[in-house]
């Protein structure tokens, strides 16, 4: 199956490591990914609350582009949206357009102005869904070169990919990432905050509140014995990783905790070069941890 890929603005900016690792992993698995040409901002959740119609039009333009550029499989073009916000906004737009004929006509007219047309034949996918359900865990296991033995991981799904549309996992207690992590040789810790809020843009608007939410997430991961957090969302990754210094000034019990994209973790297990996975971009590096683990492993073997 071939996939179109909608990066969204984060994966070209703060989330570059996400894009790099995603592309590297798909390349290594032999799955072609084609970036959607001429894509535009998804509108994110903010635009939705200011002007829903324009936000829908923005999202629908991307869907129309996907329809004209992709080759359909099972009646629909497969469009991968790795950023949780993009994934949710595109899905929401799609579902609202399907449910509301009047809205759909309005958006169709708007798209026509620019020569686009959207017929509802796009299937919006999250890469986690594609990797676990299309590629399959056993296929990924076949590509694992350096199992991540001894690594304890808190899998962080965030709120947007499973709610309100729980299309590939359970809404309150998702497990696909945990299964994936296990295949890579690591151990997912039991962590009840899988889908709790990272604060979203609160870290920028009311930092005290946003930082506290991130502190609670980080501290609980630490208490559960996790070495690192793995996430699927650029904003979650940024919030959890970038503010750790500020958080520590208020809550000194917090130790540094690396926060990786799940694709980076897969790439590491597959033995891909760290630079291809954007590991050098991590603010809290992971190599020290990995070295310690492998030494421990060697020790155990000896």
């Amino acid at each position: 199956m071939s996939y179109l890929y909608f990066p969204g603005c984060s994966l070209k900016g703060t989330g570059r490591a996400y894009e790099e690792s995603l592309l590297a992993v798909f390349r290594a698995l032999g799955i072609p990914l084609t970036e959607l040409a001429d894509w535009n901002c998804c509108g994110a959740t903010a635009y939705m609350s200011i002007d829903e119609h324009q936000a829908f039009a923005l999202a629908a333009r991307n869907l129309a582009l996907a329809e004209s550029q992709g080759s359909p499989a099972d009646g629909a073009v497969q469009l991968i949206a790795p950023c949780s916000a993009c994934y949710l906004v595109l899905l929401k737009a799609q579902q609202c357009l399907a449910a509301d004929i009047a809205l759909c006509q309005e958006i169709t007219i708007a798209l026509k102005e620019e020569g686009h047309c959207y017929r509802g034949r796009v299937r919006i996918r999250h890469p986690l869904d594609v990797l676990v359900h299309d590629v399959g865990l056993s296929e990924i296991a076949r590509h694992v070169r350096q199992p991540l033995r001894g690594l304890k991981i808190a899998c962080y799904y965030g709120c947007q990919i499973v709610r309100p549309f729980a299309l590939f996992d359970r809404p309150h207690d998702p497990s696909t990432m945990d299964d994936l992590v296990r295949i890579l040789g690591a151990e997912p810790v039991s962590w009840p905050l899988k889908t709790h809020c990272c604060g979203g843009s609160l870290t920028g608007t009311i930092p005290e509140v946003g930082w506290r939410l991130n502190y609670l997430l980080l501290r609980e991961a630490q208490r559960r014995g996790a070495h690192l957090i793995v996430t699927v969302c650029p904003l979650c990754q940024f919030n959890l990783e970038a503010y750790q210094d500020q958080i520590r000034q208020r809550y000194p019990d917090l130790a540094p905790m690396p926060v990786l994209y799940f694709t980076q973790l897969i790439g590491m297990a597959m033995g891909l070069p760290p630079r291809e996975l954007g590991l050098q971009r991590l603010l809290i590096p992971v190599d020290g941890l990995m070295a310690a683990l492998s030494k421990e492993g060697a020790h155990a073997r000896a």
Binding site: R170, H172, P192, L193, L216, E220
Partner: protein, 667 residues
């Protein structure tokens, strides 16, 4: 046959009566215009209007006209025939006419209530009256048939509803077969310690009724048994019941329980179903001390003899009455009954379906039913509220509406959870002195003494927090939360998200239909509501009847109900069943199908289509034969018959075509 051939004395003489129904009809339809129009139609001798045709004066008017104008056909244009067809047919009968020379026109539900424009409504009413006039000319005199009724009643389900219905009927002198799937009767009520709002002991009020069932000469009690087949019709049901082997001869066992003591397993070690796995039992056991019948049973899944064929079988020696029979086989009993009462009860919502509440993940999250066993003096802890590790909880949270009023699962309110949560809150506080928190959406306490009980709990210092709980977690933030379960909830009365640390969480699970309700529904040929509960014939006026004559409903199989409501409904169902069988016969409507023998080609098409198995094949004459007693008049065979041999009384081709032509001719 032409109309005038039926009535050589001048042909059909029709009276048309148009009802105002107060303003229900007259507010939209110009009744006077309809009457004037009716007078112009062929064979109409008299046409009148009246404010309430169903009232005594209205009926009398029709009777008088029949006598005075020698009417031999009557049409009433009023409400749905479901309401008053029987009334007006009786009017014809009283005036000496055959009641089937009558046609009802529904100008209320079909016209005035659903048409906006008064002009259109009037025109539609006129068209329907014109159709009825054409139709009724071709009506024929019909006779209702009487069929004798069997004197016995089957009650399915031995919970409080089934028990009450069975005792009521048995006391009235009717023989009752009470069939229960579990090894004992008693149902859910037998599991409770106290009942709300009076807090009287459930066992104290239930067990006398259970022993009365066991001792009653008019009740045949079959526990550990299931109905597997139902045939026949009102008054004459043939039912097959499978009696599962308990490996103990019921007639011989006196319930001394020495076999249980003698079992090679010295300790009880298997999860005990009656205590929902909170207690343990041996392979040979009795569900609880007051089980009825007081007969032990052997579970072949856990008994060593059944599993390996190697056991000293010390139980055999221990039984002085030689009641244990390892060779026992299942038995099929066949009975004939006149009426059936379904009292198959409910199941509680599976709390695992809401993973965020942690049932099955955190050991100290319990369902309310489990806590009923914990607070029960005969339960696994002897009535002490203890956590799985033996600690006494100091703080307890009760979460309401688990699986109820939730669009993900069941939209309906389960009706009993608010009250049983109050009861459990009281009992837990009484036994442990714990702080008890109730998390509710709305408190629903309508019922005699219920609101007062709620008030009492408030006085007792039980906490009430209004809001649907988001999650139960072991994620502690503060030192006080360490080692506790934390209930996260938005307190919607003060607009704050709260975290309440507790030792024990009780999930007030809702009531759902039994998992096999759909199969049972099919077996008894009744309907289910969209939630899956058995459907009553009418929500207000026929709450214990079903759409299948002779089958009645009692208790929570019809919808969530507490004990008083279940008992009331069981009494009503018993009364309805009694009224049916006591009369000794049933009258069957004559709107049945029949076969014109000369036309039947014997193709058997109708036989496979009949949903009521009412058609058989006469091999000698090679034609289909309809059993009028079984026929419900659905018309399937009539529509399907390729040679036009299957016909139906009151739905003859001539009648239907004339009706259609009447509408078309007017329009």
């Amino acid at each position: 046959m032409r109309a005038h051939e039926i009535y050589p004395n001048g042909g059909p003489r029709i009276g048309v009566y148009v009802c105002h129904c107060g303003l229900n009809i007259a507010g939209k339809v110009d009744v006077h215009e309809v009457v004037e129009f009716a007078k112009t139609l062929p064979f109409v001798v008299v046409a009148r209007e009246y404010k309430f045709m169903c009232s005594d004066p209205g009926q009398e008017m029709i009777r008088e006209d029949i006598r005075e104008h020698r009417l031999n056909r009557v049409i009433v244009a009023s409400c749905s025939p479901l309401l008053h067809e029987a009334t007006f047919r009786r009017v014809l009968e009283q005036a000496g006419q055959n009641p089937f020379f009558f046609q009802m026109v529904n100008i209320r539900e079909h016209v005035s209530w659903v048409t906006e424009d008064p002009r259109e409504a009037t025109e539609k009413a006129k068209a329907l009256v014109a159709a009825a006039v054409r139709r009724v000319i071709f009506h024929e005199p019909l006779q209702r048939r009487r069929v004798p009724v069997k004197d016995h009643v089957l009650v399915v389900g031995g919970g409080i509803a089934g028990i009450h219905a069975a005792l009521t009927l048995a006391d009235a002198g009717k023989h009752v077969y009470l069939v229960e799937r579990e090894p004992t009767i008693g149902g859910h009520m037998a599991m409770f310690d106290k009942t709300f709002p009076t807090l009287d002991c459930a066992a104290c009020i239930l067990t006398p009724k259970m022993s009365a069932v066991a001792a009653h000469p008019n009740i045949t009690l079959w526990t550990y048994s299931e109905v597997i087949q139902v045939e026949g019709f009102v008054g004459n049901f043939r039912v097959r019941v499978r009696r599962k082997p308990r490996y103990v001869i019921e007639e011989l066992c006196v319930g001394c329980l020495q076999c249980i003591d003698a079992c090679v397993y010295k300790d009880a070690r298997f999860p005990d179903e009656f205590n929902l796995g909170l207690g343990k039992r041996k392979p040979i056991y009795i569900p609880f001390p007051q089980a009825t019948p007081r007969v032990v049973l052997i579970d072949p899944e856990t008994c060593i003899w059944f599993k390996t064929g190697k056991c000293k079988r010390t139980c055999l020696e221990a039984c002085e009455r030689k009641a244990i029979d390892f060779e026992q086989q299942e038995r099929i009993e066949e009975i004939e009954v006149g009426a059936i009462i379904l009292a198959t009860g409910f199941k509680t919502f599976d709390a695992r379906r809401i993973p965020e509440y942690g049932y099955g993940k955190y050991p100290n999250v319990y369902t309310a039913l489990e806590v009923e066993r914990l607070v029960n003096a005969a339960g696994p802890t002897g009535g002490e509220v203890r956590l799985r590790d033996g600690r006494v909880p100091k703080r307890v949270g009760i979460i309401h509406c688990v699986g109820s009023r939730d669009e993900r699962f069941n939209r309906y309110c389960s009706r009993v959870c608010c009250m049983y949560s109050l009861k459990l809150a009281h009992l837990i506080k009484e036994r442990t002195g714990a702080e008890v928190y109730n998390f509710y959406i709305d408190m629903r306490t309508p019922g005699k003494g219920y609101e007062e009980f709620y008030d009492r709990l408030l006085q007792e210092g039980v906490h009430f927090i209004r809001g649907r709980v988001a999650e139960v977690t072991d994620w502690a933030i503060t030192p006080e939360e360490e080692g506790k379960l934390i209930i996260r909830v938005e307190d919607t009365l003060i607009g704050v998200v709260r975290r309440i640390p507790v030792d024990m969480v009780v999930l007030a699970v809702g009531l759902e239909p039994q998992p096999d309700a759909e199969e049972v529904r099919r077996m008894f040929n009744i309907s289910c509501s969209k939630e899956g509960f058995f459907l009553e014939r009418h929500p207000k006026l026929a709450p214990v009847s079903t759409f299948t004559d002779g089958i009645f409903l009692a208790g929570a199989c019809q919808g969530p109900k507490d004990i008083p409501d279940s008992v009331a409904q069981a009494g009503a169902a018993a009364a309805e069943a009694l009224a049916l069988i006591d009369k000794g016969y049933v009258e069957l409507e004559p709107n049945t199908a029949y076969i014109v023998e000369e036309l039947c080609s014997g193709c058997k098409t109708c036989i496979s289509l009949c949903p009521y198995n009412a058609i058989s094949f006469d091999e000698v004459r090679a034609i289909a034969v309809i059993n009028e007693a079984l026929c419900k008049g659905c018309g399937t065979c009539v529509a399907a018959c390729p040679s036009g041999a299957a016909r139906q009384h009151l739905f003859e081709d001539a009648q239907i075509f004339q009706e259609i032509e009447g509408v078309l001719a007017y329009v």
